[in-house]
């Protein structure tokens, strides 16, 4: 009975998710333009992809954005949560303020930060008008650091959620453990790092998945903030896929790029899943 009930779910998973993915991979070996056509061209699309400067720049940007976003989200999120966990007054107010940016879409976030980082209207202008006339802060107009300008906006938007999840995790730690640590005379920071964090493993994994999927998908933030500029300095893979598929009418190339994105995710996920679930079996 249970198996019959699961049939729709299994069919959906097979047809829609696996089927759609396979279809994309298969058609990435064709020269499809505006409409999918089965003209096989082998690995041509992939060859072109890896010879395209814009794609290489996109990958580099995603690496920088990804690593920084992962590290800073976790660190800032955990530190904020630990600070809020000190039984301070107005905790609710602070929690709400920090979580608020998450209620905004990436498009709105991007537009807001486009103005904040604009040298003529935003931070640079304010600091200069306070008297520091040579102050320079225009990340969105500088090819070398533009990706960090996007990172700032991304962190501003996403850290609140990570903090709330971490806070929930901290609240889940039994008070007895804190008491025991205090009796043993372990300093608070050591308790956090060596006892509390290892106990919060499930929370960390949840946040990790959330952050990682956000990184691979990053698209609207870039579109709203810089539309890939200056030049091609802030392009990201998802934008390359969108542009080739819909603006340049080259489905084959877009499929090849999205297959590479899938492959990248798989390279990260599979060893992790193996470690995670493989080890549980041995327990």
């Amino acid at each position: 009975m249970a198996k019959i009930a699961a049939i729709p779910m299994i069919l959906t998973a097979l047809c829609v998710f696996v089927g759609g993915t396979l279809w994309t991979v298969v058609y990435s070996f064709t020269s499809s333009k505006l409409l999918p056509k089965a003209n096989w061209v082998g690995l041509d699309q992939y060859e072109r992809l890896w010879n395209t400067n814009r794609w290489i720049v996109s990958i580099e940007n995603l690496m920088i954005y990804g690593i920084c976003s992962l590290v800073f989200s976790l660190v800032i999120g955990f530190v904020l949560a630990a600070l809020l966990d000190q039984k301070i007054r107005f905790e609710n107010t602070f929690r709400t303020i920090i979580l608020y940016p998450f209620a905004l879409s990436f498009i709105v976030t991007g537009l807001v930060w486009q103005w904040i980082l604009n040298p003529d209207f935003g931070v640079q202008n304010i600091v200069r008008s306070l008297g520091w006339a040579s102050f320079e802060f225009d990340p969105l107009y500088n090819q070398d650091i533009v990706i960090y300008g996007i990172l700032i906006a991304g962190l501003w938007q996403g850290t609140g959620l990570i903090m709330v999840l971490m806070l929930a995790g901290l609240r889940g730690i039994d008070q007895e453990i804190w008491k025991a640590a205090r009796v043993d005379g372990i300093p608070t920071w050591k308790t956090y790092i060596f006892i509390v964090i290892p106990m919060m493993r499930p929370v960390f994994i949840t946040t990790l998945v959330l952050i990682a999927s956000g990184i691979v998908r990053v698209f609207d933030l870039v579109v709203a903030q810089t539309s890939g500029g200056p030049g091609i300095a802030s392009e990201v893979p998802a934008k390359y896929v969108y542009d080739t598929m819909f603006l340049r009418q080259n489905l084959g190339q877009g499929f090849a790029a999205s297959t590479m994105m899938l492959l990248a995710v798989a390279i990260v996920i599979i060893p992790w899943a193996y470690l995670e679930f493989g080890s549980r079996k041995r327990d």
Binding site: R54, Y141, G229
Partner: protein, 410 residues
């Protein structure tokens, strides 16, 4: 219950009354002031002269935003009555897939081949001898717009061609004026490069590369000169930190920049700012070197529908768009040139008249949109965006990559 009954009656009556009148949805991306006024001329003519109704389906954003929406509606089985595309190959595959209405019978009955000028526009609509779209206007890229105020302040006469402009650039810089205004949107860099190419390399070399896809010419000495000039122009644009093309045009209008390479749609901005051609600003077709214009612009396609009455209405709209009065009314508002040579545009301004004269002499080239696929154009656009934004890429490097794209172009 009563209201339900009257609703049913009302719908039935409507349906009966509309047996021959069709609501035709027309999608386009003309949303700025002048553009909206122009498209309203189409709507007015269609509503007044036929029994059908124009349902306006304007899509905000640029063509880049609108085209994917249009294409997904057509391929997704929800076709509109008519839709705008640029002249060229944007809808090529949709036609090949049989998703567009064949207008050949209308075209033959009305002799479009004789009235459309230049006839290359109709060729762009023709695939395997059948006509699938109606060209409605001509927009050309090959213009530079010069601010008289800026040159006055720098103490140099307003240049009459590109070389004089380049020579005047250091003087402009000294007076704190940006010589060349250019927004950061990718298509602007790519378009300006095309204009410089036609002006400096000449139409033959341009055609060899952009029409015949001859990579040797693209890698050759004639194009090397073009890339050198583009690298020099890259220095001249330093300091114009704006995004949109009309913000860049505004720098020229306010005298903060010396000039801008931009298509004839920039004219509308000068008009709105109450500037007079010849006294406040000048326009040089073909950068004053080669007086040639390319015939880009817009065309309407009619996605295939199952209802024969809708089909009849689509054909009526097609013939209306090309009629003399509608062509005049539309193009005057739009600031573009009409697609037929036999209409009178007495109300046109100086710059438009220059364009009309060049068109009448037949000094025309196809637009890159007509000869290269969107894919190739996209690759060129990427290269140009990178080249214009990053001074560390040398002209020779960029040329090599350009030739590579042309060699693989389709």
């Amino acid at each position: 219950m009563k209201s339900f009954k009257s609703l049913v009656c009302g719908t039935a009556m409507c349906a009966a009354g509309a047996a021959h009148a069709v609501d035709l949805e027309v999608t386009h991306w003309w949303t700025s002031g002048g553009e909206a006024a122009a498209v309203a001329e189409f709507a007015k003519a269609f509503n007044e002269r036929t029994e059908h109704t124009w349902v306006d389906g304007a899509i905000a954003g640029s063509g880049g935003v609108a085209r994917p929406i249009m294409i997904s509606r057509i391929t997704g089985g929800d076709p509109m009555g008519a839709t705008q595309f640029n002249h060229g190959r944007q809808a090529e595959e949709l036609v090949e897939a049989g998703l567009m209405l064949d207008l050949t019978d209308v075209a033959e009955a009305e002799g479009w081949r004789d009235i459309v000028h230049p006839v290359s526009l109709l060729d762009s609509c023709t695939i395997d001898g059948r006509v699938y779209c109606v060209p409605v206007n001509i927009h050309s890229w090959q213009w530079i717009w010069l601010s008289h105020a800026a040159f006055e302040e720098a103490g140099v006469p307003v240049p009459a061609n590109w070389d004089e402009f380049v020579a005047a650039a250091p003087k402009l810089r000294e007076s704190g004026i940006v010589p060349l205004a250019m927004g950061n949107q990718p298509w602007q860099a790519s378009g300006a490069f095309g204009v410089i190419t036609i002006a400096l390399a000449g139409p033959e070399a341009w055609a060899a590369v952009s029409v015949d896809k001859d990579a040797e010419v693209a890698a050759g000495p004639v194009y090397a000169k073009v890339f050198e000039a583009a690298a020099a122009a890259r220095e001249m644009r330093q300091g114009s930190n704006v995004q949109d093309w009309n913000q860049a045009t505004n720098l020229v209008i306010t005298g903060k920049a010396g000039g801008q390479i931009m298509g004839d749609w920039a004219q509308g901005e000068f008009q709105v700012a109450n500037q007079m051609a010849g006294t406040d600003y000048s326009c040089l077709p073909g950068l004053g070197v080669n007086e040639i214009i390319s015939t880009g612009g817009d065309a309407f396609y009619f996605p295939k529908q199952s209802d024969p009455e809708v089909e009849a209405a689509q054909k009526e709209l097609a013939s209306l768009m090309l009629s003399k009065e509608v062509q005049v009314a539309f193009n005057l508002k739009k600031g573009s040139l009409p697609v037929r040579g036999d209409v009178d545009l007495a109300a046109a301004n100086d710059c438009m008249k220059k364009g009309l004269a060049i068109l009448a002499q037949g000094n025309i080239l196809p637009d890159a949109n007509q000869t290269l696929s969107p894919d190739t154009l996209g690759q060129i656009e990427d290269l140009m965006t990178e080249f214009w934004a990053d001074s560390s890429i040398s002209a020779a490097d960029a040329q090599e990559r350009y030739a590579d794209i042309i060699a693989n172009a389709d």
